[in-house]
């Protein structure tokens, strides 16, 4: 089985996001970028499936600007076998990404597509579900455990009320949640090896996909600031303030 792992290049999760003064978006110039943390979890799970003998090839794919190649190299350094870059002028919207990935799935015929449940930039939480819809495949979202057998996946899903399990056939799309695993760090020898691994390049036109945006971003602003309040000196004072000043208990 081949495993396809779509990955996204985003602002590093530890960097403080700043809105541009012209309100056109957030500042990306000279900002540290990294693989979306949920995508790292997906790559890790794919590698573990391969190491457990369930898969023979892990392919990382990214749709985005040319620098998304660095994100692919991160995945290759973790242990993925090869990469696919779909080079776009800007980051496509989730529906467009799903269409691009569908075209790749038709070429590669993976047994499972593993991807992060959301990217920490747009926080959309759509791409995996959309891809499954376009392919007519089963989807299991928010996975915290995946058990692989010959022709099915048993996926434990984190839902608002607790946990639930679904069995999905092969092929499936599975989106991963935080507690599925802890991604490995790439070792230096693997980082060196990753530089030699194959990365194929496509454009949306090569794949016959129109990625014109459907949403126009009119403006991006800072959220309303919340002022720091007061420090109290004791739990008794706190209870008093909550009762008599804030009147919330």
């Amino acid at each position: 089985m081949k495993i396809l792992v779509p990955v996204k290049r985003v602002i590093d999760a530890n960097v403080k996001v700043r809105v541009k003064s012209d309100q056109s978006g957030v500042e990306l110039a000279n900002i540290k970028m990294a693989m979306n943390p949920f995508c790292e979890i997906a790559v890790e799970e794919a590698l573990r499936m391969k190491e457990a003998g369930h898969a023979d090839e892990v392919i990382v794919v990214s749709a985005g600007v040319a620098q998304a190649q660095e994100t692919l190299r991160t995945g290759l350094a973790m242990g993925a076998d090869r990469g696919i870059l779909i080079e776009c002028e800007n980051d496509p919207e989730p529906l467009a990404v799903a269409k691009l990935l569908k075209a790749i799935c038709e070429k590669e015929e993976p047994g499972v597509v593993l991807l992060g449940k959301q990217a920490i930039d747009g926080d959309n939480n759509q791409t995996g579900q959309m891809l499954a819809g376009l392919l007519g495949w089963a989807v299991a979202t928010f996975a915290s455990r995946i058990e692989v057998s010959d022709d099915t996946f048993r996926v434990t899903r984190e839902i608002d009320g607790g946990l639930e399990a679904v069995k999905t056939p092969r092929p499936s799309v599975i989106t991963v949640d935080l507690r599925l695993n802890e991604p490995r760090y790439a070792s230096l020898p693997n980082i060196m090896k990753a530089k030699k691994k194959q990365v194929d390049k496509y454009t949306p036109a090569d794949l016959g996909v129109d990625i014109s945006p459907r949403l126009e971003i009119l403006k991006v602003v800072e959220p309303p600031a919340r002022d720091a309040g007061v420090k109290v000196s004791s739990a008794a004072e706190l209870v008093d303030k909550l009762k008599n000043e804030a009147k919330v208990i």
Partner: protein
Amino acid sequence: MSILVIAEHDNQELKPATYNAIGAALQIGLSAGEGAEVDVLVVGSDCKPVAEAAAAADGIRTVRVADSAEYANFIAENVAPLIVNLVSEYTHILVPATTFGKNILPRAAALLDVQQISDISSVVSDDTFIRPIYAGNAMATVKSSDSVKLVTVRTTSFEASADSGGSAAIEALDATGDAGLSVFDGAEISSSERPELTSADIVISGGRGMQSGENFAMLERIADKLGAAVGASRAAVDAGYVPNDYQVGQTGKVVAPNLYIAVGISGAIQHLAGMKDSKVIVAINKDDEAPIFQVADYGLVADLFEAIPEFEAALDND
């Protein structure tokens, strides 16, 4: 303008998030100055009580019910075709941005070739919405050019509509059949006598500072005195102190109670994203540099293992 709100429920009870989504639908109607006809879709199995509850909600034209075995567990592959069948009658389809809504709506959007708008927190007009991005560190105003808008609603950002006062007609829909793909294989649903995290008036949450699951009993006692729900930071869930459904934050639940008490939580941006719209925020933490104090209305710099028993005692003394 006609809007379909997809109800969230467990085949027995209508979940409160549905009323917030209806509230958002009413706002979309108001934004256009003409009001909106709002229908509710109840998709489930043996879900008649849910349909009846939805029919009693204020401001609903029709409750449309698809009651069939294949919908029992809200499998996206089974639910999405039903949404697709109904879409031509509506200008907007709304669902709460919960794990239920996030799971089903993007699939329907893809089948309809529509770019969904996720997690709206405000309505500007019938095609323009504000939504948080980057864990709420920026707010984007987006305008959709799609002919129908598929939207998930940040429930804490919209007033719930009234759950009574209406008497909508209930209409049965034909089922769309089992896609034969995902098969439900059991659930572990947490049960609690306490209010639901996302709709509680008061939430008390613990972080890594709690040091163990057993210590959450201290918070539970206070929760029971205040009628509060208990939540947690990601760190506390990752450490195994409490189950995943306690998690408040960017990737967990978004809450906006009247009072949020953060105990032993440092206040990573991912946690703040899930609670900073709370009306009053209290932080109890021994590190006076903890970022949580930057958003707290009342901060108490103290060892929680001393402060929490004192807090409980002060509640009792009154």
